[in-house]
Symmetry: none
Subunit: 265 residues, 2 copies
DNA sequence: ATTCTTTATTGGTAATACCACTTAAATAAT
DNA sequence: ATTATTTAAGTGGTATTACCAATAAAGAAT
């Protein structure tokens, strides 16, 4: 009588592990919404109570969150663990920006290198489409769209590196520096020559990954960030100038009328 | 129509919290067996699926354990309450170890490189003393002291890189992989030849930083981690063997006497 | 007394129905 | 045409019920 052995694995646990894996690997990103419990149950081939048990497990782990009537969502607990300690520190100490960019340079060159080694065909296809939209949107005047496309492009490279730590860390870092990227891009958008340099840099990275040349990809990514760093310096100088001008203006206004709370520190 | 109010608190959560409280307070002691799900459900005045959701939560927290057909029992470990989500992920998904080590390789080679560039005199002095203790303690049989000295050495290098991100991330990583480092070092300690290789690797890193040679430092650190990775593979194989042996032992014990609840999974 | 079989009990899974909440589209009022 | 309201569809939350599979204890056969 050999009836046992296999049934010891509970279905709910299998489902939970599978979902956890998908979240960890990044195929389910923070903020993503899962299908409805009914649909998801039939999709996975299990009953709704079983699915709910699995979801409950992940909810108690903090990986998922539900809103009654709204849906089930993937939390950002894994990434916020990276970001949260830094968020206020960065904004409070601007001198950390250089550290941040230095780290980003290391991370992205490594990402590009690994991506050139390991990218699968679907990764390449994804990079192709993202690069296409990135390049096309750079011709438009929609700076906001440029940022999104830029972030998506770099994130896709990080995910093609097939290292979950690099993937999540890149995503965290992107969120952290999002504001600065936007400042920087607006700064560069007013300078067509440098703006085009950015495009050629993106092309170099993309091409190196496509042609499976890790070293070249790493160098391209590295010099790309270096270029960003230089211009970031200019942008920051300009932003600093504007800010101090604003401070003076605010102060003179305060002398006139002292009223609402000023939030800026 | 104000019909809501109370339903925002989910019944399953209330039940789970109540049970957790009773366990933590001690009215439910480790090893205690809970009533059957059906009885318990009517006793608490909830449905069985709701009770099961509550139980599931506590099971995933590690406070309860079930045996199919046997019953539900209170476990004896209460500490796994506040855990780093990444820590949990790492222990749950062993395939992450390679990602972790790959990231560590990138991080530490960059650390060494930057340290060789930027280390101040006090950094160098600190590294000197730490290297001295590291080298001396490697001659003793105190593996625990070796781990501490090793961690301190690498941490000091990361801090000599003068990048707060790298510093903090390195310490986080060290905490994360501390257990594996100890396994690995114990494994290597039984192999004097490789043990001495470790010492020469540390020497190479230290020397390259002292002599201000970034590339050499990066290469030394990189090959050091690579060496660790290889031996980590061996150590993991051995650990896997021990674990499967333990599994067999547990199974044979179960065949002999089936009595109290076996908590091992 | 020991071993094997049986049986009641337990946890695991599933199907179904209904409730409460959220969202957004459709409608009514301005 | 715009805004505010209503309504309907969809979602997660809970409960009921039933059946399956594994366990453990009682009983029967040796």
């Amino acid at each position: 009588m050999i009836t046992n052995r296999l049934t010891v694995t509970r279905i709910a646990d299998v489902v939970a592990d599978s979902l956890e894996k998908r979240i960890l690997e990044g195929s389910l990103k923070p903020g993503d919404r899962l299908p409805s419990e009914r649909d998801f149950a039939v999709e996975l081939g299990v009953s709704r109570p079983t699915l709910r048990e699995a979801l409950q497990k992940l909810i108690s782990k903090g990986l998922l969150a539900t809103r009654h009537g709204g849906g089930t969502f993937v939390t950002d607990r894994l990434e916020s663990h990276f970001v949260d300690p830094w968020q206020e520190m960065i904004s409070g100490h601007p001198m950390l920006h250089s550290d941040l960019l230095e780290f980003r340079q290391m991370l992205e060159s490594q990402s590009a290198s690994l991506a050139a080694e390991r990218a699968t065909n679907v990764d390449i296809e994804r990079l192709d489409t993202l690069y296409a939209t990135l390049d096309s949107v750079y011709e438009s005047d929609d700076v906001k769209a440029c940022i999104d496309a830029d972030v998506a492009f770099h994130q896709a490279i990080a995910e093609a590196a097939h290292n979950v730590l690099i993937g999540h860390l890149t995503s965290s870092l992107m969120r952290l520096i999002h504001g600065h990227v936007s400042i920087n891009l607006e700064h560069l958008h007013a300078r067509p020559q440098r703006w085009n340099q950015l495009r050629s840099q993106h092309h170099a990275i993309w091409q190196a990954i496509r042609e499976r040349q890790p070293d070249m990809a790493a160098r391209a990514a590295s010099s790309h960030i270096e270029f960003v760093v230089q211009n970031m310096g200019d942008a920051n100088l300009e932003a600093e100038r504007r800010q101090s001008a604003l401070r003076r203006q605010v102060e003179s206004e305060r002398n006139l009328e002292i009223k609402g709370p000023l939030l800026t520190g």
